[in-house]
Amino acid sequence: MTSTRPYIRSMKGWWRRHPAYRWYLLREATSVVIGLYALCLLWGMTALLLGPGAHDVWRACVQSLPGRVFQLLALAAFAWHAWTWLRLLPLTLAPLRLGRHRISQTRVHRAALGAWALTSVALLVAAAGGLR
C-alpha cells in the first residue's frame, strides 16, 4: 500500500490535545519566573555594592505591593518547579539498587521530597537566626 500524497497534520494548538502537555508547559514557564527572580536578587547584590542609597531603592521595590506579589508568584513557581522536577528525578538517575532489589521510582521521589523539605527548613532556620 503506497500513497503518493500522504496527509501531514498540523501541530497548531498541540498543547490543547492533552492535559499533560499543559502541565508540562506550566512547568517550563515557571523557569521564566525563577529566572526573573534571580535577576531581582542580582539587582539586590549589585545595589549592595553600589552603596546604601541604591540598596534602599532595591529594598523599597521588593517591599512594595507589586514586589511582594512578584515574590509570592516566585515562591509558587519555585515550589511547583521543585515538585515537578523531583517527580522526574528518578528518570534522570541510573536505576538505584538496595542489595538485589531495585528501589522504586516512588521511593526515590519521596526521598528527594524529604531532602528538599529538610533543606528548606534548615535554610529558613538559618535565615531566621541571621535576622535576629
Binding site: S3, W14, R17, H18, A20, L91, T92
Partner: protein, 251 residues
C-alpha cells in the same frame, strides 16, 4: 447474544486519490463485552465498509501493529475494549505526528530510518562468529537492559511526544530507548558509534522530558528514563571531545 449493545465508532477517513483532507465518518457497531476496539474496526470492515484501512496482526499486544489514537490517547486498539467507552462515542484516528497514508494507517518510514541510525543490534568487540559459541552474561547483567528490550516498535511513544511532532529531526523515544538498550548490554561495544547520533540536538538533547512516552508505553518501557539517563554520558562525551580537540590544537 443478550449482552450485545451498540456503540458509535467515529473513524478518521482519508483516501489520497479521492480526499483533499481527512474527515470523520460514524459507524454504529454492535458489540459484546469482550470486544476490543480493533474488533470493532474489523466489524466495520467486514460488514459496513470494506474500504476502511487499518493495520493489525497478532491481536494480543505483541506485534505493535494496531496502534492508533482512541479518544486522543495513543493505544494499541487490541488492548482497549469497547465496553469501557460505552455509552460514549469512540473516536479512532491514526497515530499523531506521522503522515497519514490511508484512513488509520500511517507512514512509519521516518521512524524506521531513525531506528537504523542508532544501530539497534549487538556490536561485539572482537567480532564473534557462531563458532565462538554462546555469548554469555549473568542475570544481573541482563537486568541492566531487560526493561528496555520489551519495546515492540508500536510507535505509541512517538504519538505521545510533542517534541517529535515539532522537531522533525528528533530521533524520538523508541529509537533512543533502543540505543540505550544496546549500550547497556554487557555483550555490546558499540556505545561510541551510537554516541555520535545520541549526543546531538536530534538525539538525547532533543528531549525536554515531557514524560508522556513512558506513560503510554503498553510494554512498560521507560523511554523518557532511558533518554535522560544518557544525558550525563553525552555531556561527558562532549567534554572528552573538547579536551581532545584542545590537545590537537596545542600539539
Amino acid at each position: 447474544m443478550s449482552d450485545t449493545r451498540t456503540i458509535v465508532l467515529e473513524c478518521l477517513r482519508y483516501h489520497p486519490e479521492r480526499d483533499e483532507a481527512p474527515y470523520h465518518q460514524r459507524f454504529e457497531v454492535p458489540f459484546t463485552p469482550e470486544m476490543s476496539v480493533l474488533e470493532g474496526l474489523q466489524y466495520i470492515k467486514d460488514h459496513l465498509d470494506g474500504s476502511l484501512t487499518f493495520r493489525w496482526s497478532c491481536r494480543m499486544a505483541v506485534c505493535g501493529n494496531c496502534g492508533c489514537m482512541v479518544n486522543g490517547e495513543p493505544v494499541l486498539s487490541c488492548q482497549v475494549f469497547l465496553r469501557d467507552y460505552h455509552p460514549g462515542c469512540v473516536r479512532v484516528e491514526p497515530l499523531d505526528h506521522f503522515p497519514i497514508q490511508r484512513d488509520l494507517a500511517v507512514d512509519p518510514s521516518d521512524f524506521l530510518d531513525k531506528l537504523a541510525q542508532v544501530a539497534p543490534y549487538l556490536i561485539p568487540d572482537p567480532v564473534r562468529t557462531p563458532e565462538d559459541g554462546p555469548h554469555r552474561q549473568t542475570p544481573q547483567q541482563m537486568q541492566d537492559y531487560l526493561d528496555t528490550s520489551a519495546c515492540i516498535n508500536c510507535l505509541l511513544c512517538y504519538a505521545a511526544c510533542p517534541q517529535y511532532g515539532l522537531k522533525a529531526d528528533f530521533l524520538g523515544p523508541a529509537a533512543l530507548a533502543l540505543a540505550h538498550r544496546y549500550n547497556a548490554d554487557s555483550r555490546d561495544a558499540g556505545r561510541a558509534r551510537r554516541m555520535e547520533v545520541m549526543n546531538s540536538d536530534a538525539g538525547v538533547w532533543g528531549c525536554t522530558l515531557v514524560g508522556r512516552c513512558s506513560e503510554v508505553c503498553p510494554k512498560g518501557v521507560d523511554p523518557a528514563g532511558a533518554i535522560n539517563r544518557n544525558k550525563p554520558a553525552a555531556a561527558l562525551d562532549t567534554l572528552r571531545r573538547l579536551l581532545q580537540s584542545g590537545r590537537t590544537c596545542t600539539s
